[in-house]
């Protein structure tokens, strides 16, 4: 079975989804000096941050999420007062930044700010349930999977799958704790990658059952495979990643050889990139016949729980435009990636019919999604 993606919007440090895709094609990198945090002390001096709009109320993640939900619902022509619309909001760090400010700086917070029910209900009054899924860096992918399940089992007429993340001082401190030198930018799959940097962002997509689209769909959501490594809290395990990919192919009824492009997780860390590259090589082979492989984090940073939906938005543009952006920041691929068709330096034109989106998170939580062009 499959469902339709009738709208998909994203917001990154490079702009909205169309602006971000155009910037990716130009090879732009959205990194800047880290603002709003004690950078030197954290040993993290750069980040991929969204501008704070004048008058934009904190906490920010909920506000960005609400903006994307409003736009996705509008573009999809949904009426939550007349249809059963469920919302799944993915996030890595929730509004824990607001909690830090409350605990350390005397900022104001209310308990309900921790999750996204309030901002979503204000953005889309009438929605049935709002669930906040805090599934680390694969939260958006998990939301896609469970959203499709809700539709296929008839538990909702439409599902808004959304995600948002800001940065927290605690997560930045963890990144800085293990870095010899602060990274200046993210370089996915590069042999000399300096490590990960966080990105801020939000995204939302509306899914409806086949035949139920009020507007022309932008893609078909085939399936998402889910797994948990059950191996280590922070280090990825190739077996778990492999199981999520196999699950996606099985649920979609597709074969690996049909994939035209992979939007990889590609965090630019010591651990993720070799593990992911090795599994991709395993699954797709290294004979040059495999899919093109790209990754967005060199341009927009690691947007944590929003990562899968950021990649989804870019993959939708690839389906439409027949072009795959390069891995921004990639100079010389790491050893494990030498057999992959990593897109480097400039965009590649391609007849993209089937795209794969990888998202892996802390705790070994993996989500692999497959999308195809609209019917």
């Amino acid at each position: 079975m499959s469902v339709l993606v009738v709208s998909c919007v994203a917001r990154t440090c490079l702009g909205d989804d169309a602006e971000t895709f155009a910037a990716l094609l130009r090879g732009e990198c959205g990194v800047s000096s880290l603002r709003h945090f004690p950078a030197r002390q954290l040993n993290v001096t750069s980040g991929y941050q969204l501008p704070r709009q004048r008058g934009e109320p904190a906490p920010y993640a909920g506000s960005w999420l609400a903006g994307c939900v409003t736009e996705a619902v509008r573009r999809a022509g949904l009426d939550p007062n007349r249809q059963r619309v469920a919302v799944l909001a993915g996030t890595g760090l929730r509004e824990l930044r607001a909690v830090e400010r409350w605990a350390l700086d005397g900022g104001a917070v209310c308990l309900e700010d921790l999750h996204f029910t309030g901002p979503v209900r204000r953005a889309a009054p009438g929605v049935t349930s709002v669930l906040t899924l805090s599934n680390a860096c694969s939260a958006g992918g998990y939301a896609l999977a469970l959203g499709q399940d809700l539709l296929e089992l008839g538990e909702a007429d439409a599902v808004v799958v959304a995600a948002a993340d800001t940065m927290t001082e605690s997560m930045l401190a963890m990144i800085g704790r293990f870095a010899d030198e602060p990274a200046d930018r993210v370089r996915p799959f590069d042999s000399g990658r300096p490590g990960v940097l966080l990105g801020e962002g939000a995204a939302a997509a509306v899914l409806v059952p086949e035949g139920e689209a009020a507007v022309p769909p932008v893609a078909r959501m085939l399936a998402t495979g889910l797994s948990c490594d059950a191996h280590h809290e922070t280090a990825p395990d190739p077996d778990g990643i492999r199981r999520a990919m196999a699950g996606a192919f099985e649920r979609a009824g597709r074969a690996a050889r049909e994939v035209d492009v992979v939007y990889a997780h590609g965090t630019g860390t010591v651990l993720n990139d070799p593990a992911e590259a090795a599994v991709l090589t395993d699954v797709f082979g290294s004979d040059g016949a495999g899919p093109l492989v790209t990754a967005v984090k060199g341009a927009v940073g690691h947007t944590s729980g929003t990562s899968a939906l950021t990649s989804l938005a870019m993959a939708v543009h690839s389906l439409r435009a027949g072009v795959v952006p390069p891995v921004v920041g990639l100079r010389e691929p790491l050893g494990e990636g030498r057999g992959l068709r990593l897109v480097r330096d400039r965009p590649r034109s391609a007849d993209v019919r089937l795209a794969q989106i990888n998202a892996f998170g802390f705790g070994g939580v993996n989500a692999v999604s497959l999308i195809a062009g609209p019917p």
Binding site: L93, L114, A173, L226, T234, R243, G363, G364
Partner: protein, 308 residues
């Protein structure tokens, strides 16, 4: 994907250090260990000593509840071997890693990055409880962390049912857990709706498509619209023996388990099953005016009841 709309509750566990459960809920006598459950810093009594270093309170409580729900004796070794890809984990907690996040940020401010313990690294991510349950008990299926406020426990139960029906797992371990450390208590005081005081505790239910005859069955979790000024509520109403409903106000009796409440209610409803006269429907609900309400029905089967 046409799974049945009800699922079997094949196991349950309750780990509430501040309540004397068998005294408060006599129907649990003989089904859970008597007396008060151990606090998080004594979790090694249930779980053994190895592997608990650096684990936060919510995680320790959760592991204890799962240990009980899987019918492992206190101190019994946990499973070993490769992860079981057929068992999924869904955990609900709102405050689980709040203290860790605040501690880490504070340490970095005061002592620089070297002041941060590497053991605290996983706790910066809110899904640490769910992934730790998976690693501890070798559960390799989908792994979901729900942080949805007052409805979160029943949201987790709803996702557990969904994953069984969607064929993503053949067994789902659903857990709710909340700590009551100083940071959690302080943040809980910033709640905008009237509520009972926060209590630490964890609960677990094991869901499967079917169970042996007499196994309680759980219906689909429903979403309810509650008025914006509705106070926090977590309660169970039983309609046993066809008699008028008797209400059990969990928050009133034990304090508010917040994100753990929905799971604890389903566990209690399952605990009612198998008792003489327990042949009937138990309604559970949790939520508040800010987050809305969630409700579900558990069909508790008596000794001679139809069960599944």
């Amino acid at each position: 994907m046409t799974g049945a709309a009800t699922v079997a509750v094949t196991g349950y566990g309750l780990h509430l250090p501040d309540a004397d459960l068998t005294a408060d809920f006599p129907f649990l006598a003989g089904r859970i260990p008597p007396g008060r459950a151990c606090p998080p810093d004594q979790a090694h009594v249930i779980l053994g000593r190895k592997g608990l270093l650096g684990k936060d309170a919510a995680t320790r409580l959760a592991l204890c509840a799962v240990h009980g729900a899987l019918r492992l004796a206190p101190g019994a070794a946990r499973p070993a071997g490769p992860p079981d890809p057929g068992t999924a984990v869904v955990v609900s907690s709102n405050l689980g890693n709040v203290a860790s996040v605040v501690d880490t940020a504070r340490s970095a401010r005061e002592g620089g990055r070297r002041a941060i313990s590497p053991l605290a690294v996983p706790n910066a991510s809110s899904n640490v409880v769910a992934s730790t349950v998976a690693i501890w008990f070798r559960l390799g299926g989908p792994n979901v962390m729900v942080c949805s406020g007052a409805t979160s426990g029943l949201d987790a139960v709803a996702l557990g049912t969904l994953m069984l029906r969607a064929g993503r797992a053949r067994r789902v371990v659903v857990v709710g857990t909340e700590p009551a450390d100083d940071d959690a208590l302080a943040l809980y005081r910033e709640r905008t709706v009237p509520a009972s005081p926060l209590r630490a505790g964890a609960a677990c239910v094991v869901l499967e498509p079917d169970g042996p005859p007499g196994t309680p069955r759980l219906g689909l979790v429903r979403t309810e619209r509650w008025p914006a000024n509705a106070p926090s509520r977590s309660r169970l109403v039983s309609w046993l023996d066809g008699a008028a409903g008797s209400e059990l106000d969990l928050a009133g009796m034990c304090g508010d388990l917040y994100g753990a409440a929905g799971v604890a209610l389903v566990a209690l409803a399952a605990g009612l099953s198998g008792h003489p006269g327990a042949d009937g429907v138990v309604e559970v609900e949790c939520g508040d005016g800010a987050d809305g309400g969630r409700a579900a029905a558990v069909r508790a089967a008596g000794e001679d009841g139809p069960g599944g």
